[in-house]
Symmetry: D3
């Protein structure tokens, strides 16, 4: 059977539909209102959520909040050292793409009117990279933001947590001809098609970004990738709830 053949083929020995081991550490640092270290196997991202009263000028007086995200990789989170963006004096196109994606994903599940005139700033900093840093970032940021919003409830500033649903993300791809879930770096560097999927806890799509790395991909391949992603994200949401002590 093709599936079992391809199972052998994953460098990590995982089955095609198997996530890496997921670890979530809340309160990893102590200053931020929300602080989570999330690990997808060897990929480790520190996600913090910072709350500030007030909103940027373009939103003042509109009675709603704002949420934005920034992303960075430590220079030696990667196999060979990458130049420090602060030293180069600019963020790469890739960095900007990822931080825009994280921001959109989280804004999709937070009720900005309920948040009131406050700003949440997410920082996702990659301590160690082994593929999937953007999906780990979104998944971890959701927990950090939830934590920060809980803090506003506890402080009596909000009546209820304005996060309407969970949001999580995973990568899928066609690796050596087989659709696989949660690509690690060796797979990511060598796959034919790469797709990042962001979904809510209730199974709606927030973002779908698929790219043909080798030849174009077919509709059938797209469908099987979306299936894999949906199943993977359902597992991630279970982990998010467990970390927050929320019943599944």
């Amino acid at each position: 059977m093709t599936q079992s053949a391809s199972f052998q083929a994953r460098p990590s020995g995982r089955t095609p539909d198997q996530l890496r081991s997921i670890r979530i550490t809340r309160g990893f640092t102590r200053h931020a209102e929300g602080s989570v270290l999330i690990e997808f196997g060897d990929t480790r991202v520190l996600c913090t959520a910072s709350v500030e009263e007030g909103v940027p000028p373009f939103l003042r007086g509109k009675g709603q909040g704002w949420l934005t995200a920034e992303y960075g990789m430590l220079p030696r989170s990667t196999h060979t050292r990458s130049p420090r963006e602060a030293a180069k004096g600019k963020q790469s196109g890739r960095t900007q793409e990822i931080q825009r994606l994280i921001g959109r994903s989280l804004r999709a599940v937070v009720d900005m009117e309920a948040l009131g005139e406050r700003q949440i700033t997410i920082d996702c900093d990659v301590l160690q990279a082994d593929g999937g840093t953007r999906t780990a970032s979104i998944t971890g940021a959701c927990i950090a933001v939830h934590e920060a919003l809980d803090g506003l409830v506890k402080a009596g500033k909000l009546a209820a947590n304005p996060m309407r649903d969970f949001v999580a993300a995973i990568s899928v791809g066609i690796y050596k001809g087989t659709p696989v879930l949660d690509l690690d770096y060796p797979e990511d560097s060598d796959c034919e098609t790469d797709m990042n999927v962001v979904m809510t806890g209730s199974g709606g799509f927030v973002e779908v970004q698929g790219t043909a790395e080798g030849g174009p991909f077919s509709r059938a391949e797209l469908d099987s990738l979306l299936e894999l992603a949906g199943a993977g994200i359902a597992q991630l949401v279970v982990e998010q709830k467990k970390a927050l002590g929320i019943p599944a």
Copy 2:
């Protein structure tokens, strides 16, 4: 019937599956090796392809070519004037995302080994914007690159045109509850889901980028958007071939 109801709803009066009128003007400017003005209704983008002998340092001596793309909007291509990026001293995250997308899309259909140690630089400059500038850019750039590669064949530098297939792009979205093709600016500003699809002439997917602007979207919505996009792109490829004088 829902379809006919929604038909009424498009600000332009188009049916849900109707493209705007497409106009392609080859040779719009005279210095570039390929130069095309492409219009999707009121959206007008000048796409040029420049050929240079040699490749960037990271590719030297590997016997293959390179293709890269840049994108810009004239400050008053938009409804209200946007600041000039050259004056601000940096390109926005949106600009970088789009130019990376254009580059990936075209690299997917050009055989870099067959191109040899040459670099193609695509410039997509928006003269007038009314939604869909990135899809018009990709669709126009394909023609400009084809034209430039034809020039290399005519000059005897290449035996055959190294473009393996056509590539075109279109936006689709859920507008007032109905899936529609080729969003113009009023639709784009007010749609619930926005998706850009890049496909080859033979119907393979090169990029799929869908974003929930309002609530999350369902798998059924995603499927109907992909159908619309596929039909639209097939029409665009017919126009590309017509413009290049290639039998359909």
Copy 3:
């Protein structure tokens, strides 16, 4: 006769005192309050004028308006591709010189008190370059600004158009020993003296910028260049008025 001898020498076959063919297309794009495509032979510049209520901080409350200009060249408007200034992160000294010149030239003919607390921003973007882009820019910008100011009159915001006079510009130079009008690129690259002259419709000088490219030039040469320029600008003003439907 020297004149007829030199006539042979112009690469374009023009007589020394002959302008290139001038084409003016109003309303070339639709969002800007004034939008003009101006062509001096193969040089094509899109000039837009944008009106904004309010003035920069240093003028607030002084009861007067402001006018500023920006200039850019599309990367492949030139014979070989020029790097995109937005990508380099800075405007060249040449770009800044030209946009300062355009701004000064137009400010010289607009009554800032009559304009009131409004700002006009001119954008001159070169779609195709063949010499004389700065003079075409000034000549076209004058029409675009006039158009935008007419719009303010039609909207009842101004009692009368605050443009006091027309302004136009032309280059002149010593080419192979003969003073010639309106240099195109082959002449510009190879002339001994290059001068840009900006004058009003009533014949006053706004700017005179002459540069010795080869050896220094004499007072007699300067005088003959100024004569040529004056005659050329008078013709340009006739074209401007024709385009605006104003009797000569």
Copy 4:
């Protein structure tokens, strides 16, 4: 007695000559040739050492190596969020001062001729800040560099580790009139004099940087601060050796 009175005064309850608890975790991340998480109480810095064959152009062919350092703080390592330097597009003067200090300190103990034509790049990234980030950085970087150099020995590229001595750093200051060792953030924000001292394992001075934050300080105060620092650094070197498994 003054000493015991001041002892009461430290916010942390430490005695004047008491270091915070020091924790050193080797191999905190896996890609770098040397990787150490160092903690001085709540201050946590990830120090990595990256080895690259070859040296910068100014040293090529001189038969010696080079070592340089970069420093950064994660935006929410601090009590309130600090802007991300990569997003601002420049490193602050403080950041540059610190990374220059780290580089000089480590170059003082590595034999550049023995290193050969290789470059060591140190990255010190502050995950959590509570005072003393530059001293923790130097102390941790020494271990990471030692580790990386040991790797070169194990790989047979060097005959012996070219680190000639250990180097460590500590802050001292006058807090409420008493000289104290290893200032934490509450002390650092409120001290009269602040001094950073860098010394070798054999007790030589590498850097002394003292600053009067309130009034000027006297020679007697300077002397007592240097005593405290010397004793503190001796303890740090014991910890460094313990972490590296080197007998004291």
Copy 5:
């Protein structure tokens, strides 16, 4: 008589055709190959010429030299402090215009073939500004470059000084209706027309840059300004020769 009336009008009490007192101090600093402090009244500019063996890449192997210029104002050379350009991170359009003008002016009189593959870099730094900094810069730079070239002759690297002619510059303008020579700051801030003229020792024009600050200027005014400028520059060349010990 108009002239004598206007004479009263100059804030400095100078006659319309009177230069400010000119002072030239050679060897003002000791490291540069040419170093001149030039003073036009209260305007003081330090001009240095630096010689470097070799030329920029675009000229390599062509057997000719290069000359380039940079210009700056000390922040408090002006009446109120101007922001430091190094701190702002960019040179203003005005600065770039001026340094390009200085470079062109000097290149007009130096024989680049005779110079050989060497680069001269001129630095004009304004210590105190009172109008006319660009004209003082050009006039002083000519002496500094001459000095530096003399040094190459003395060192046996050149057979003869490759400066073919002197070059000097002066401003002229219409102040309160009268053409005047060498505008100081109070005149410059309040004149109707402002012109900078660069001429050679033998009376040829190198640059003419006239700008209408108030209303447009007439051909008669232009002529009288050029007369004044020519006479002023002749005096400046006398001073340049005197400073260099060259017989008039």
Copy 6:
């Protein structure tokens, strides 16, 4: 005797404890509220103090003033030309370190409450460099600031000069084994230990910055350097007072 032996060794022939000749020229430029040219031998720095009413936003309404400093070197103040920081678009780490040091040193002696809501900006621009530019800058800036504050007293804006004490700075170092005062460039480039000391007129320390350039330095060496520095600074304060006409 060692001292007399080492005396021979200083390239300048100075004794180990001998300052270079100090020259202070007040009123070197005329626009700034305080303007001093200070010379330590061949090192020449122009120090200006500019007074502005008002303070930066972070201090508004707190009833206190602010003082900040900027530093720059003219490109050819050095032996070989250094790139102009304004042209490079950024200030080096060294420049930022020095300007931060100058600012801290002067803030240590000015009573910010007594100054009121005003800002003093110091500019230290090196006209010629021969070692010790930062210490000359601090020493000269003190006089310029004093002068500017005297002006505020004379203008009736302040009852008394808010400078509480003088501040001056000097470098010391171990040169060929002997501690020496006030290093010039040849000594600075070749010393084993380099220390900059900033002290008040009454002998308190404001900054001590010592760096091992060769091997680490001992406590005994540190002590002898501090002795030399103290004596040198006492002489500088005498010169400062003399320049200001204040009895010693």
